[in-house]
């Protein structure tokens, strides 16, 4: 895997978080956090529970609006990012507490990821008219490719609510991939998985990064996986940034070690 990583061309900064502060009532979820994400890299965010990792992701795609700071996306400054803006700008994400459309099938869930790419209007769809139908079929083909890639052909028609956790996480990734994002935000994609499932998921993430060139921002608790697949790591603790470096440097950072030892008590 190290070889694949070294062969990729890591580019310029595509996403720059500047002095982000976010508070809920009295709780400072994020205090003056700055870091950047470069094109094609796998950028991990780690930290103990409640460190502010998910909040950071939510700020990036506009689910939360920070009280201070700005999100700069390919040079464009957003003081108020919104989920819609982020989606249109090519940012896709998965959620820590899987947020799939429970009543819908795997296929339909992933199809919703194509929403922004649909051009036919509601009237054409209502009468199931030529262009709408052709478009639907074209998108369907793309979605089938994603289903093959994630190896979930056997559950295509199953309502996602009935799937085991590990497979739901995969469908969540599939829906995000269907958007053909340039930046993919993953919030603990391997939580609750066994070793085998984790290996599959790591492979999917690396393949997406390598073959499609997608920039990935990843939150993950499994240190083995994080050290293995990420290029650079941001470490948060109680809403503060306590480390930002390559995996090897982060591993040796005394402050990081202390935070993790403290958290395990």
């Amino acid at each position: 895997m190290a070889e694949t990583v070294s062969e990729r061309q890591i580019g310029d900064v595509v996403l720059d978080l500047r002095n982000i502060s976010l508070a809920f009532g009295g709780v400072n979820a994020l205090s003056d956090i700055s870091f950047d994400v470069r094109e094609h890299e796998i950028r991990a965010i780690i930290g103990p529970n409640g460190a502010g990792k998910s909040s950071m992701l939510n700020v990036i795609n506009g689910v939360y609006q920070p009280q201070q700071g700005e999100v700069v996306l390919r040079g464009q400054r957003f003081e108020k990012m919104s989920p819609g803006h982020a989606a249109r700008a090519g940012i896709a994400r998965t959620f820590q507490n899987i947020a799939l459309f429970k009543g819908m099938s795997v296929l339909d869930n992933i199809m919703t990821g194509r929403n922004l790419k649909m051009k036919s209007n509601i009237l054409q769809q209502a009468v199931w008219w030529g262009p709408a139908q052709r478009e639907e079929l074209a998108h369907r083909e793309k979605v089938e490719e994603i289903i093959d890639f994630l190896e979930i052909q056997h559950i295509r028609k199953t309502p996602v609510g009935r799937l085991p956790y590990g497979l739901q996480k995969r469908v969540d990734l599939g829906r995000a991939l269907a958007m053909e994002p340039s930046i993919l935000l993953l919030d603990e994609p391997m939580a609750g998985m066994n070793i085998e499932e984790k290996q599959d998921m790591s492979r999917f993430i690396l393949d997406v990064n390598d073959q499609l060139g997608t920039t990935i921002v990843l939150i993950e608790h499994d240190m083995g996986v994080v050290m293995d697949i990420s290029d650079r790591i941001v470490v948060l603790d109680y809403g503060k940034k306590i480390g930002d470096d390559t995996p090897d440097e982060v591993r040796a950072n005394p402050e990081v070690i202390a935070a993790y030892l403290g958290a395990s008590h």
């Binding site: 989920p83 989606a87 947020a99 799939l100 990821g113 929403n115």
Partner: protein, 309 residues
């Protein structure tokens, strides 16, 4: 036996209309989390628009063809309901995202009064008629199978067919089209839907418009039978127990709940009514809803309501 079947069929036909109005409730509740008390007012408003435009348009354009007048009036009334949906999203929903259920409920009560008030000042407050050429005479069917046959009300029969066709068309639309999929996505999870770029505002306009069209069709059917008057708003509120019975979040629940209430009303009126002195049709549905609220608050098909702690 023949009489029982007549009553049953009468109930099913009346129930189909409740289903249609209940569908409006369910769609709005699923997509925007609002329990829409204004549904009845929307029926009145739409029926008023239909009745008055059918009266005015021939005068404005100088023709006398009733069919053409009705078609044009329907188109204009549908457009009016679109404007209503758009205004409600713009002026109200947009500013109330993530508010408490109780707040939203009060807001829809406000919308109901506004629609009733504005409707009457725009279109007048008399009793108006809608004449879409519904046959008024009953017809005998299945005379070979039952002595004396079954007496069916043609008007109710056609009304039920129209309502059923509209419900079926809407269900297909939700299942088979991209917009339908987006609607279901929003109904399941707002945040995830927004994160894949589905615009909530647009979805809300569509949903309120669809509910508006359901209200228009129900308004035309009831209006042509009862006349367009203030009481139409309360007739539509009879669909309220339907959604409690069927479950606020279930489309099939709205349909089946409507049929159950329709049948229940008619059967109870005929068979229990004489024992308690009649008038049971008025309160039967509410009674049934109350029983459900006590013993199965999520309704027949709704999702179980779990309080988050």
């Amino acid at each position: 036996m023949g009489f029982f079947l007549e009553t049953l069929i009468g109930g099913l036909m009346a129930g189909m209309l409740y289903s249609l109005v209940a569908l409006g409730f369910v769609l709005i509740y699923k997509a925007s989390g609002v329990f829409n008390f204004a549904q009845g007012a929307m029926v009145l408003f739409a029926a008023l628009a239909m009745a008055r435009f059918a009266e005015w348009i021939p005068g404005w354009l100088g023709f006398e063809n009733q069919v053409l007048a009705n078609i044009l009036a329907f188109a204009v009334a549908a457009a009016v309901m679109f404007v209503v949906a758009w205004l409600i999203e713009r002026l109200v929903l947009r500013h109330l995202v993530n508010q408490e259920g109780a707040t939203l409920l009060m807001v829809t009560l406000g919308i109901a009064y506004l629609l009733e008030g504005i409707g009457q000042s725009l279109f007048g407050d008399n009793i108006y008629s809608i004449d879409v050429g519904m046959p008024k005479d009953p017809v005998l069917v299945l005379e070979g199978m039952f002595p004396g046959g079954l007496l069916i009300n043609k008007e109710d029969f056609i009304a039920a067919l129209i309502a059923a066709a509209l419900v079926a068309a809407l269900s297909l639309f939700f299942q088979k089209t991209a917009t339908g999929r987006a609607l279901r996505a929003v109904a399941d999870d707002h945040q995830a839907a927004q994160s894949i770029g589905i615009p909530l505002a647009r979805i809300w306009v569509i949903v309120w418009f669809v509910a508006g069209i359901a209200a228009l069709v129900a308004g035309i059917i009831w209006g042509s039978k009862l006349g367009v008057q203030f009481s139409l708003a309360t007739v539509a509120l009879r669909a309220l127990p339907v959604v409690i019975l069927g479950g606020l979040t279930s489309v099939p629940g709205a349909i089946i709940g409507g049929l159950i209430i329709g049948v229940g009303e008619k059967l109870s009126e005929v068979y229990i009514g004489p024992l308690v002195g009649g008038g049971i049709e008025i309160w039967f549905a509410y009674m049934l809803a109350l029983v459900f609220l006590l013993f199965r608050p999520q309704g027949l098909f709704g999702e179980k309501i779990i309080d988050r702690v």
